[in-house]
Amino acid sequence: MTALTRIRPADRPILIAFGFTILILLIGTAYTLSTTGTVPLLQPSYLMQQLQIGSFLGLCAAGMMLVILTGHIDLSVPWTLTSAAMVATAIGGPWAIPAGLSVGLCVGLVNGFGVSVLRVPAMIFTLGLDTVLRGLMVARTGGFAPQDQATPAMLYLAKAKLLGVPVALFVWIAVSVLVTFLLARTTFGRSLYAIGTKERAAWLSGIRTRAVVTGAFVGSGLCAALAGVLLAGYSAKAYQGMGNSFLLPAIAAVVLGGTHILGGRGRYIGTFMGVVLIVLLNSVLSIMQMPEALRQIIYGTVIIGMLLIYGRGTRISE
């Protein structure tokens, strides 16, 4: 614990998340050893597969982090993802992926407008937009029979392997590098942190807060849309409800990675670790055939427990 307090506060969550990830793998391995006598969890193929699955959540979390850094939140991720997937598959052909991404772009612009120009709380505006998107998709599916098969390009991105590594993982890494660069090395990134810390002061510093906040939502929309396009490739098709299980884990991953839920603080590498942790946790619980009730309890306890550990040893200002 004393060693922990000596580490830079910003790095602490990342290391703790890493530690927990190892712990989860060990627990899972102890389980498989005692039941089947094998250690599949420590094999590269399993880890690769987990990272491949994790890449969809990872993309959502990357976008979510941009928004959370500004002090807002994006609850429209589930149906942005689904709409993008459905539009991509319906358009098909070479334009499938651009069409899907443009859905994310539009959603981001609308969210940005609602939150930064109309100044509706993001919590409620993005929730409303999520409902509208769901409504649009229900209405559309009700109107005709859309094509829902993923295109070969989508299948390639989601499923193929390059040098033994899933292409989806490359996509996630590419986006991760981009986000890390944005946050650390661009004026846009600095502006995100400034707005998340004190929007009023940021605006009075001549930062174009509306544009930057909108940019964050566009980032989130694009990431969710990309996740949708990939997920449709992974499942070979788009379907209603494909985004349902991404919202809360994305938020949890961002926060477990050390980003402050009220904005202004956080590093991308933490979000990355948070995603890995959540994906492995879910996977190990599923492998252990944990009943749903215990799974929820463990999930909640892990989040609380980790955050409590992060807080240890920091003298919080009055």
């Binding site: 498989t32 089947t36 094998t38 599949p40 969890l41 193929s45 399993y46 597969q49 699955i53 769901r134 229900v138 599916t141 009700g142 109107g143 005709f144 029979a145 859309p146 094509q147 829902d148 098969q149 499923k159 997920l231 992974y234 499942s235 070979a236 098709k237 379907y239 209603q240 409800g241 494909m242 349902n244 299980s245 996977s283 599923s286 492998i287 055939q289 009943p291 749903e292 009730a293």
Partner: protein, 355 residues
């Protein structure tokens, strides 16, 4: 409210009683045409959308159109008070029959009481109620689970496999349908002479979740001798394919994609069985409601036959459609009930609309 009478009921080939113990109900006849409402729960998946469309299409069907003066469909989300409220509102508005997919198997005491008081026929279907006070329409979930289990074990025995590892993919926790299907599957396995280890994972009836948990299970356990899923069947097939798992017998629902996969790979070992809940149940429920309003004797629990298709009997354009999307549910019509709206028919009709 209805009186409990003795059978047989009207149109037994369509309104088949659940079993020999099923009681019969009779409402006093009302003059038609009737005001009928459908109160759906949530409307966020293909099945429900197909159900809503079938309901609307069937209300226009010549066999029933003249008997309906007003027809309304609402979806309330997974919100019990909202659903109960909608039902009560329709009772207050003077509707004659209300058809519903319950968001929970209990909790309808009050609306049942009000419906009886106002001589309204309340017909739950699909997710039905744990009560014998109302007329309900459903497929037999226990029979479904049993059939899945027995079929898979039969295929395995035929292949000379008498012991091994089976993967069960469960549905949404806390749901009676999940409970019944799983119970029957495991009973069937227990009743079998073989030595089976069952690995259970939770796929929430959702393709994506299913695909993920099946992939996890394969990564850990290596290989299964068969997979019995009660939903998300497309996800099972995807996971098997992606992991390079050899094709094995798979039980699943009636999504078009699943049937397409069986048709394509059965020769390689994907000896599949596809049974599913049909969105067309809504039409049977509507028909039953009208029949009850006309004063006919009706079974309290109406059993709609299981639409079973195995790899042996799949026929493109008949019980699956290779050029149509994966997500829609193949079984929709029930000829004995004169419900002849097929899945593709709904799609075709709408594609006209589109132009």
């Amino acid at each position: 409210g209805p009186e409990v009478v003795s059978g047989p009921g009207a149109l037994p080939e369509c309104f088949a009683p659940w079993d020999e113990d099923t009681s019969f109900l009779q409402w006093s006849a009302k003059e038609g045409p009737y005001k009928i409402a459908v109160v759906n729960g949530f409307v966020g998946n293909t099945w429900r959308i197909q159900m809503v469309k079938t309901a609307k299409a069937f209300a226009e069907d010549p066999t029933i159109k003249d008997k309906i003066s007003e027809f309304k469909v609402v979806s309330t989300g997974t919100d019990a008070p909202a659903q109960l409220g909608a039902i009560e509102d329709f009772i207050n508005q003077g509707y004659d029959a209300i058809i519903t997919i319950a968001v929970a198997p209990t909790g309808f005491d009050r609306v049942i009481r009000l419906a009886d008081k106002n001589d309204v026929v309340l017909v739950p279907f699909d997710n039905v109620l744990d009560t014998d006070k109302v007329m309900q329409v459903n497929e037999d979930q226990l029979a479904m689970g049993k059939k899945w289990g027995e079929f898979i074990l039969g295929e395995l025995h035929e292949m000379g496999i008498d012991s091994g590892k089976l993967l069960e993919v469960r549905g949404l926790a806390g749901n009676s349908v999940d409970r019944d299907r799983s119970l029957a599957i495991n009973e069937a396995i227990a009743a079998d002479g073989g030595d089976w280890e069952v690995v259970s994972v939770v796929g929430n009836w959702d393709d994506g979740t299913t695909q993920k948990v099946v992939a996890d299970a394969i990564a850990v356990h290596g290989q299964f001798d068969a997979v019995i899923g009660q939903g998300g069947s497309n996800g099972i097939v995807q996971a098997l394919q992606d992991s390079g798992h050899p094709w094995v017998p798979v039980a699943g629902e009636s999504e078009n994609g699943f049937r397409k996969a069986i048709a394509e790979h059965s020769a390689d070992g994907l000896k599949g069985i596809s049974i599913g809940q049909s969105p067309g149940l809504v039409a049977v429920a509507m028909k039953a409601a009208v029949s009850a309003l006309e004063g006919n004797v009706m079974p309290q629990l109406i059993s709609v036959p299981l639409p079973v298709a195995t790899y042996k009997g799949l026929e493109d354009g008949k019980n699956y459609w290779s050029e149509l999307p994966d997500n829609f549910f193949t079984v929709n019509e029930f000829p004995p009930c004169d419900v002849n709206i097929s899945g593709p028919a709904i799609m075709a009709e709408s594609e006209e609309d589109m132009k």
